[in-house]
Structures are given as structure tokens and as C-alpha cells.
């Protein structure tokens, strides 16, 4: 699984209909250890810029991260 560092993040309280059941939820842009950045969801504890995260699963192509 990929690892990286949080480049920026937010918690979404108002979402499109497909994500309405999930609010509030955190998204982050993660700078991957192997290069590049990706936008993903964050599970569990809220993360902040600079936190190390690890990818725990992928759903429909969307990476889900957790605090490492």
C-alpha cells in the first residue's frame, strides 16, 4: 500500500448527493512517497498538513488513507 504526507486537507460538511450520507468526511491531497500527488479520503482520526498517512483501501479508484 502507498504511503505519503498530507499536503493539504479539509473536512466537508456539505456534499453532492452521492456523498451526502458520508458528511462530515475528510479529504486530503497526499504527496506520495514514490512521487506525485493524489486526492483521497481520510478514515479514522483527522489528519493535518505534514502528517504521514498510509493507504488502507481503494474504492472505485479512490484511495482511502489513515494516519500512519
Amino acid at each position: 500500500m502507498r504511503t505519503g504526507t498530507v499536503y493539504t486537507e479539509t473536512v466537508i460538511y456539505s456534499a453532492a448527493p452521492a456523498f451526502a450520507a458520508d458528511v462530515p468526511f475528510q479529504t486530503a491531497i497526499v504527496a506520495l512517497e514514490d512521487g506525485g500527488r493524489v486526492t483521497g479520503r481520510v478514515l479514522g482520526d483527522r489528519v493535518a498538513i505534514g502528517d504521514r498517512v498510509i493507504e488502507v483501501e481503494t474504492r472505485d479508484g479512490v484511495p482511502f488513507f489513515k494516519k500512519a
Binding site: E9, T10, Y13, A15
Partner: protein, 386 residues
Amino acid sequence: MRPVAVVAAGKTPFGVFPELDIRALAVQAGEKCLANARVPRQKIESFYLGNFAGPAFVGQNHLAPYVSMALGIQGVPATRVEAACASSGSAFFHAWTEVAAGIYDLVMVVGVEKMTSQPTPRVTEILASAGDLAGEIRAGSTFASLFAMIACRHMYEFGTKKEHLSAVAVKNHAAGALNPDAQMRKTITLEQAMAGKPIADPLNLYDCSLISDGAAAVILAPLERASEFTDKPVRVRGIAQASDYVALDQKPDITTFPAVRLAGEKAYRMAGVGPEDIEFAELHDCFTIAEIIATEDLGFVSKGCGGPYAMEGHTTLAGERPINASGGLKSKGHPVGATGVGQICDLVQQIRCEAGPRQVARRSLGLAQNLGGSGATCVVSILGAE
């Protein structure tokens, strides 16, 4: 390249108008514009329509001839331009190229959006289609959340504070309260602005622009013929459009918008001026952080200083360089496809000294900045009295 002037401007109020469909809105703005100049509609040679998402918001496609024919502008090339929230700024840019190049003498540009017939979650979804559906949007991002992530990083790198964001909202509400065509005509306090309902942390409701219906229109002509059509021509001194990545996660630095810098630099060069010469501006405050970053990218302040600049009052109506004397997207409203031409109408009104209680003191050189998406398109226009 010929010098070009705006010879007519007109727009609808921005707001919630259940009785007006998308064509009726566009026609209302177009008629007001035609009535603003001595331009017989049969003389218009080309027609542009800026619109972001008519097909998704109201199901109507083929909008350019749909509107031009309803305005009695028959047979001419009628072209729709889509560039997210910069749709009509881009339409204005392309209309300008036709006049500047000498292809046509009279070109009309209308911007329109009809948003309020959809519930907010659906509006959020339609707006999100201006982002990267294969990446950020699939992860649940909204436009508010993309700008929230921009704000988060700007705060981290430069110490920008929540108060700085809220100061932009307070200022734009104060100006909008004086604008009879604004959607939200009420002042707010800093405390209220700080305590809004959370939308995407750190942005709350007061950091977000409005969901609106509205339309705006202008007519362009060569400067040398402008006096045939109006006693108050406004010259397009500089204009440029630039582009960048659609996906936020592809940008090396999200605290700056390269397309804004590029378009700004080109427009300044064409006008033969610098940021210090700009007396007032209409900036694309889709979210409060966007106005702060625009002041930096356009060179009004150095990088990272946009927050304190907003907080210290330099950009209020009475400040040294008023920004969004119209109320901005925040208070005037943001019918996305109408916003770019709406900003041009606001500059024209100020330069002609027709803005009433919102009139800025120094009005001879104004700048409009229209942003699409999270910065993938930007159009910067510099208009002057001469």
C-alpha cells in the same frame, strides 16, 4: 491590432427569479445593453454567449442562436463559450479578438446562468463537473472543498487567518448592500462572518459565493468608431486569457494560480501599466480565499500578504484600491456563466461614474479578473476611460 472599446453594457439584477427562464434572462440583459447604445441590432456581426452549464441546470443546449435569434440578431455567427465560471470572461476575450483583428466591427457578448431551479446538492454536483471527475471529484470533493484545501495550505505557509477570510466577506457584503442589483443586500459583522455554518473547513457559509440566476451583456466596437455608438466609450486597454491544470492535485503549488499570473502579466503589458496603476478592481471572489490570492497573483501585494491586505481595509469602498465595489460574487451573486461579463459591466459603470453610492473615487483604470474552476482558466481585462 486595433484598439477596442466597450460601447454598451446592460445586465439583469442577480438573484432568484423563478419567473424567468434562461432565455428570458439573457434577452433581458441583451435588451438593456442594446438600449444603452446607438447600435441597431441588425448591425451586430457576431454573437458570443458565455454559459457554463445550461444543459445540466435547465436541460437546454444550443444556447447561442437560441438567445441571439430571440434578440433579433439574425444570421450571424452565434457561438457558445464554456470555461466553467470564466465562461463569459472567455466569451468576452474571444469577442475582443474578432474586433481587435479587424474581422468584425460590432460584436455582442452575453453571459447567462440559471441555477436556482435546482436544489443546492444538485447545484454542488453540477459545479463539481468543472473539476477532475476522474480524481478529486470522485473522492467527494466539492468546489468549496477544493478552495478550502487551498485556504488550508495558504494558512499553513503564510499564516493567513480565518479573520482574514471573513474580512473579505464583511467588505463585500458592505458594498453589495449598496448595490440595487445585488442578490444579498445586507451587511454582516466580522463575528457573524466567523461563525457561519461550516461548509468545508476552514470555509463557512459566509466564505462562499451565492447560487444565482442572472445575465449580463456588452457590445464591443473599434475605438475609432466608438463615438458613433455611445458618448461614453470605455476602452479595453489590456486583456488576456490563460490556462492551467483542472485538477488541484496536479498543481505544484496550490497557493497561487499560474493562469491568473500569466493573464495578469499579459494584460498589464498590453495596457502598458503595472499593478500599482490599477485604481479599482472586480476580482473573482467565488470563495473569500480566492480574492486574497488574486490580490497576490495580480501583484497588488506580495505573495502571502493578501490576508492582512484585506484585513487592513485597503480594499474597501473608501480604501486606496477598492476591490469588488459591486459586492463581488459573494454579495452581488454568482450566476456562473454571467459573472465575467457582469464584472465588465461593473467596471464600465464605475468608469462612467454611474455607480451611485458605490462609486469609487479613482475610476480611470479598472481591472476585472474572472476565474474558472480551481484556476484552470483565467481572463484578466483592464478597462480605462481613455
